[in-house]
Symmetry: C3
Subunit: 215 residues, 3 copies
């Protein structure tokens, strides 16, 4: 808190946004890594510990997001459009919410995540989260536009791959799972995981529109 105040004193006001977004980007990336751990952990109780970690990270991210909105509420010049800041913070927050939701549902439904669909999906989510972190980090100086556009292209391509993995997983699920209740549970988890990659794409689209205006 004290450090925080000192930082605020020395940092030009608009630098706070970059710092907060970088914190969020880092959290997104760690949560993606933790979700991958969850779907590779075969023990229910060990998974519970990982899921608790994801829950804590989600709360940390809520705090960052809340601070971004608080800073936005004060009246001073922002580094880019207020509504872009608002929308970027919201879509990054959505990524965290859906990562947590998919992790939570796995133990909640007592679903065995040792399944190629869940594991491929988690792999794609992690890659997309890492690209989101890179793109967010480049917003500060926008010197390396190439790095941002590379991240955009990858995030879009990952979202398409996730759609295909989703379709294949659902098709396999209906064909091989005899218990309709299991179908309902797993289908919901696939759907939530697929939304994570959509939300990464949303974040990428806001970053793209910021670049077009300011770079």
């Amino acid at each position: 808190m004290a450090l925080n105040s000192i930082l605020k004193f020395f940092l030009p006001k608009d630098k706070i946004f970059f710092q907060l977004f970088e914190n969020v980007g880092e959290t997104v990336s760690i949560m993606g890594a933790r979700l991958k751990d969850v779907v590779h952990e075969k023990d229910f109780d060990k998974r519970a510990i990982l899921i608790k970690e994801i829950e804590d990270l989600e709360h940390v991210n809520d705090d960052y997001t809340h601070r971004i909105f608080t800073e936005l509420g004060r009246n001073f010049i922002t580094p880019f459009d207020r509504e872009d800041i608002h929308y970027l913070a919201t879509s990054l927050d959505d990524i965290c919410d859906y990562i947590y939701a998919s992790a939570k549902k796995i133990n909640f439904y007592k679903v065995n995540p040792d399944d190629s669909g869940f594991q491929k999906m988690a792999e794609l989510i992690l890659s997309s989260c890492n690209e989101v972190q890179k793109a967010v980090a480049e917003l500060r100086d926008m010197k390396n536009l190439r790095k941002i556009t590379d991240a955009m292209v990858l995030i879009n391509s990952i979202e398409n791959q996730a759609d295909d993995i989703f379709d294949m997983s659902i098709e396999k699920l209906f064909e091989t799972e005899p218990d309709a209740k299991e179908v309902i549970k797993k289908r919901e988890i696939y759907q939530i995981m697929e939304i994570v990659t959509d939300k990464c794409e949303d974040a990428a689209n806001v970053i793209e529109s910021i670049i077009i205006k300011y770079a």
Copy 2:
């Protein structure tokens, strides 16, 4: 209609909004009470009568909402931001829509509502609706801010409790209901009921942002 015109003549224009919002708040509260009656009524046909009553109330509320939008379309000074009025009316309307949807689905799916999950959920919905009515009623003079903030706190707490009841109900449903078709039906009703408490929270958030600006 005649009375309505006389009222309009005597009331300062912006008082119309308070009146309409109070009507909506009252309807929300009555609909919450009726939904509780529905889940405690064991007879299908008697439930049908209660559900019809909820449907009628939902139409009444549509009329109020429509009038709020019509008044908003005319160009004069509004008591608070036009978009806040728009968003508040929309979220209150959503509460009514989802209360009606959950009541309707019970008989539509021929689901037996004599279930602790449905009954606890309806209890929470009624409490939240009552708090929404209180908060809306205080908007007129904003003298008793304490009353509004107390309502906000309760609505948020109820939404959290509803999440827990939802999780417990879904867990129990998957564990105890052997018929997957019943799982699908009941899960949908729980989901709709849970959304009612989310919509109450949305309404509370708009009211909070109005208070911050104007109180």
Copy 3:
């Protein structure tokens, strides 16, 4: 492309929007017709060809929509509010997305579409799409307001009929289909088809608000 450039040279800038919206309206109408063909085609492989055609039309529409957004990004006077253009293009694009989604799911889930629910729904979708095309086409000169309002009324009435067909189909599905997995699949397709008629209504509402402002 060359022709396109010549057109752009001769057409007053704002005429481009009318042309693009007419192209979209036509695509919407053809996609509605193709969806009706899909649910009447009993052979899986022949259906696959029709679905591929719908997919291609959806891509064509994406291009039109993208061009509308690009034209909107340039700074010149638009024939009506920029946000109305944006919202109209988005809702027309949604119609196409959901038509394609419902067609695609039929073969994806290997569902037999020879079912009165699917066929009535497709019939309603086609009627609504045709009315959307008529309303969009009248935007250019707004001389025949009667034609537009007739289309609006029909689109709203179709949406209500689709709600009823949806309810009846779901009721019948739960009562007659013993396999819960089939229930999940067909229910999802009914839901997507019902959304198409909602999106037609959304488009109609934007057109109505444009008329109110400009006619």
